[in-house]
Symmetry: C2
Subunit: 264 residues, 2 copies
Amino acid sequence: MLPSPRVTERLRVTVLGMGTTLYRQVAEDIRAAIVSGAYQAGARLPSESELASRYGASRGTIRQAFAALAADGVISSRQGARRVVLGGPRLQTFNELVSFSRWARAIGEEPAGRVERLELRPAAEEECAQLEVPLGSRVYHLTRVRFLSGRPVMIERTAYREPVGAMVAGMDLDVVSITERLEDLGVIFADAEHQIDAVAANSEDARLLAVRPRTPLLRERRRTADPNGVMLEWSDDRYVGDAVAFTVRNSAGAKALSRLPSQR
Amino acid sequence: MLPSPRVTERLRVTVLGMGTTLYRQVAEDIRAAIVSGAYQAGARLPSESELASRYGASRGTIRQAFAALAADGVISSRQGARRVVLGGPRLQTFNELVSFSRWARAIGEEPAGRVERLELRPAAEEECAQLEVPLGSRVYHLTRVRFLSGRPVMIERTAYREPVGAMVAGMDLDVVSITERLEDLGVIFADAEHQIDAVAANSEDARLLAVRPRTPLLRERRRTADPNGVMLEWSDDRYVGDAVAFTVRNSAGAKALSRLPSQR
DNA sequence: TAGTGGTCTAGACCACCGC
DNA sequence: CGGTGGTCTAGACCACTAG
């Protein structure tokens, strides 16, 4: 069941701590109650007005909490009826999706990486288009094999736009998570676009991943931008087909996925 | 530029028409202005207060409009700074993602389908789990090859839960879009979960898609639920690897995608 | 028909950005 | 520092669901 906090102004400050907000707290309480099994898939959740009085909050705040859960595909709602719990796997944070290392640790595996190549070279035509830099620009290009608990599962080939490229070049490349290191340096990753398809392993892929040529690989090409929409990186990541899968939730109200005819 | 409607109560009704709401109208206006090129990628959008006065609306309504655009990955926002237009492809509606036919028409191709098998049989263990029906239940199982402009690009193997299965069985199966037909019959598809990975074509896949065995296929396994969270269908769709790709947008605030270690 | 979510208003205070 | 978005309140009316 959901907690029933007695809320006074003083207590609320105590309960929330710094940096938290009330609607996030409400959302987390509901999420926790669902994860704990108190609300099974298909269960009807408390009404907005009940939660509002229970938390001493206004209806708008409770609606913000529900909206956050709906955006994550955790609940559904229809006018006139109570909100309903949807089943399905827990979703990952944005950061876990951009950083292989964060993702690996989140699922209890030990991430590792081996740098294959790092070069500063003129960007290929596709890289210029994806990074939105002029033709002929030079970009840093990094190739790494990534491991989960010792097994090679992915090759990443990433082009970094300046000035991020220079930061990467100046890094100790044995560091496991380049993303986390960049964030320490003040780079903010805010928005990513993932394009997912299937390709056959070429000879380099096969060698680096220790699979036979023509083995099916799951390819994720990803552009990541900062909060102003400036492209920071463009990556071609190839996963061993039976090592990984992507999951997408989408609801009638939230369009996050699209299916594209492939150009090649 | 965004339109500057003079808003009186009377005019607003005229402009909006039936079934529309003000915040949707505002969102559509902004989206149209972006699509038209009036706001390029990276451009800063008008402030909430400016739009509020321009539409004669409250700030909350304008925020609802922006929230809808942010959920679609069209804009980003940070406290203290104007909202910014993000680039990227237009997203598809939920309906276009669940229905192959709708998707095909939306990208200007002619959809077609050839029924390979339709059978009523006991559900496999995985099907029971995915459809959330008891072990031993019988489900309708449909296998179809789908074509884009005459070329076979996908095999769908779909299990329908009752009572949807019976509707499918009673249908003229030469109908191109089963999904649309079901919606005519009152079935509402509200929420979908897509799991995407890469597999090698088996002999049946190869024969039906006219490719060589072991060709890489992009596999999408999809569960679709109604607004109450009741599972309606569970489908294993396999696309020819070079025919199709999926695109996902995700931002720091909206978690829709997750990456999973594969079980098999 | 009573309850519930959907939409909307008109305020308020704060944290943060950029000039 | 002024402007902006983030959070929150306390109302209101309507459309829809469910019993």
